[in-house]
Every structure is written in structure tokens, then in C-alpha cells.
Amino acid sequence: MAKIIGGITTSHIPAIGIAMDRGIEDTPYWKDFFSAYPPIREWLAEQQPDIAIVFYNDHGLEMFLDKKPTFAIGCAPQYENADEGWGIATIPPVTGETELSWHIVNELIENDFDPTVCQDIKVDHGLTVPLSLMYPGRKYQHLKVIPVCINCERHPMPKPSRCYALGQAIGRAVESFAGDQKVVVFGTGGLSHQLDGERAGIINADFDNECMDKLVSDPEALTRYSNDDLTEIAGAQGVELNMWLAMRGCMLGKVREVHRNYVAPISNTGAGTQLLLPE
């Protein structure tokens, strides 16, 4: 049986990719942020997962408002990145996966989730920045990626409780897959931030830390928030917490946190990083 061996939460903001391209990870502004990653990279190097399920949101590269899925899952052998318009370097293609991904799709629909199924999508910084962070020098081609995209742009968005439940359904699908693949799950984005309006710039570090605590010990407490609640407490883009909840849902039972970091501000956000292992 395929097995989820760990969960990783990480920011995915473009500024991180740009900082890596410029090689300024060790500057005073960035070093507290990048210092979170070597232990996670070591864990990945040690464990050698075969597959990564990456929860991300598309910020207007592939999924424009004309056809915007609430939940989408990729079943393609490869994913391209492309120009996003404001200067982040395009990265080489990401390797996909076409067996577990279809199994997940079948299981999701059997369990009353009805995602958009994608055989050819471009992936944006929401997915590529985390991969670049985990595998510096863009050495990620060996890892087979299953993108799961959640609408975080236009309301109505899927509720936190629903994102968590989606994660649980995916976690159970992985467990029922006949294979011996090692799977890691990424929850990307967040934490508190708001880019738009007169309220732009709000960060809620206390809430972010509470989210990281609860993600470990009591994720269901976080599913009681509505997206409006998250907007009010953590800013309009604070709803990216939904990807973290989906990741946590995948892990099904109890988890232990083996690594954590939090830095605010990183660009306009509170940037959290965690490595969670199943107990």
C-alpha cells in the first residue's frame, strides 16, 4: 500500500523564488526564513519520497475567471511553468504522475467529491516555489508531483471544513492504492496576509502561530472558521490556510511536529514552515 510519510507546510510567495534566483538567501532579511529549509531538505533526501501531492492555488496563470475550478487535480505526466507577468523566472518542467492520480480521482468521485480533472495544465508559483525551496538548483525532476488546486481567489471558495475533508478523502485514497510508493504532502501558501484594499498589509502573527499549533493537535478546530472569518482575522489572502488544512486532512490520524519556523514579515506575509510526521 502507498503510504503518506510526512506533511510539509510552506509559503509559496514569488518573492522567495526571486530571492533564490538572486542568491540572497543569507542576507539579514532572508536568512531567518531560509534557515527553516535545510532540515526539511535533509529529511527529504533521507526518505526519498516517490510522489508529492501538492495543494496550491493558481494565481491567474492557468485558471482564469472564465473557467475556474473549485477543486482541480492533475493527472498529467508533466507540468510546465510559464511567464506570470511580473518577473519570476520560469522553471523547468515538473514531473507528473498518472497512476495514483487517477486512483485518487476515482476514489474522490466515489466518495462524493467531484474535482475538475486536468490532463494538461500550467502550474504557477503556488506549486513551483515550494518545489524550488525543497530541491535547490531545481533538482526535483525525480519526484512525481500530483497538483491539487484549490480556488482561493473568487468567492464562493470551498469552505475550510471542505478542504480538510478533501484532504482526508485523498489520504484514504492513497492508503488504498496498491503500490509501495512513499508519498509526501505539501500544504502551500499563507499564512496571514492581505494584498488588496486599504487594509492591505495586515499580518496576524498570533493567529498564525495558533494555526500552526492547531494544525498539529486539533486541526478540526480550524475547520470551524468560515472563509469570511479567515479574511477578517488573517487578511483576504489568509484563506490560503485552506491548502494547509487539505494537507493535514491527508495525514488522517495524529501527527507529531518535528520542525517549525515562523517569520513575519516575509514580503507581505507571515511565513510559516512545518514538517509533520504521522504518529
Binding site: 518573492a15 475567471l65 464562493p156 488588496d196 484594499g197 499580518i203 483576504a236
Partner: protein, 119 residues
């Protein structure tokens, strides 16, 4: 859940706003591509007309009025691409929306995080 919660300084980007802003967002979506960015830069007003922007949207584009663009249905994801064309980053855009310089906006961000302990 169905009631609309009003949050100060925040325009909820929902169905009505997305309807209002569709043409504007569609134009900004083309800024993913170098051709779109170049064509816009050559003649901004003509590019707005090509996508059927309303007079209010067009005026806000020409004036770089980010808050007005949001009131006219712009989604921040696509407005960020517009800002990119103008060479602005998210701190610049934050400053423009909050009446701060970019440095003041960064100081505001910092005051909620690392700046708290650094004094």
C-alpha cells in the same frame, strides 16, 4: 455563511464583483505574456478599448488607481500583473492603497512581526 460580512478596507471578490470586473481582469490576464505587455505599453487607452473596459475602469488604469480598479471589479491577482507591467511590487502596491510610501508600508509590515522584538 450566506450573509455578507463587511470588513473594513476589504472588497470581497465575489460573483457581482467578478461580473463587474471581467473585462478588466481579462485584459490584465494577458499581461502574463510579453506580447500583451508590449501592446499595452504602446497604447494603453487603445488596449483598454480592445477589451471593452468601462470608462471608469479605463480611467483607473490610466491613473494607476489601484483602489478604484478594485472597486470596479479588479481581482488583486490580475491587478498584480498590471502592477508588474508598471514595475511595481506588492509593497509598492500596498503603499499606494494605504496612502503610505513603500518604505512606510514596509515599516508597517515589520511592526506586526520582526519589528515588534527588534524595537
Amino acid at each position: 455563511m450566506t450573509e455578507k460580512k463587511e470588513i473594513w478596507g476589504t472588497i470581497k471578490f465575489d460573483g457581482p464583483m467578478a461580473t463587474k470586473g471581467f473585462a478588466l481582469n481579462k485584459m490584465c490576464y494577458t499581461f502574463n505574456n510579453a506580447e500583451g505587455r508590449e501592446e499595452f505599453k504602446k497604447d494603453e487607452a487603445a488596449y483598454c478599448d480592445k477589451f471593452g473596459l468601462t470608462p471608469a475602469q479605463k480611467e483607473a488604469v490610466l491613473k494607476r488607481d489601484i483602489l478604484a480598479l478594485e472597486r470596479e471589479g479588479g481581482s488583486i491577482y490580475y491587478l498584480a500583473k498590471f502592477a508588474g507591467v508598471l514595475g511595481l511590487n506588492v509593497q509598492d502596491v500596498g503603499g499606494l492603497q494605504t496612502g503610505r510610501t513603500t518604505e512606510e508600508f514596509k515599516a508597517y509590515l515589520d511592526s506586526q512581526g520582526r519589528g515588534k522584538s527588534n524595537g
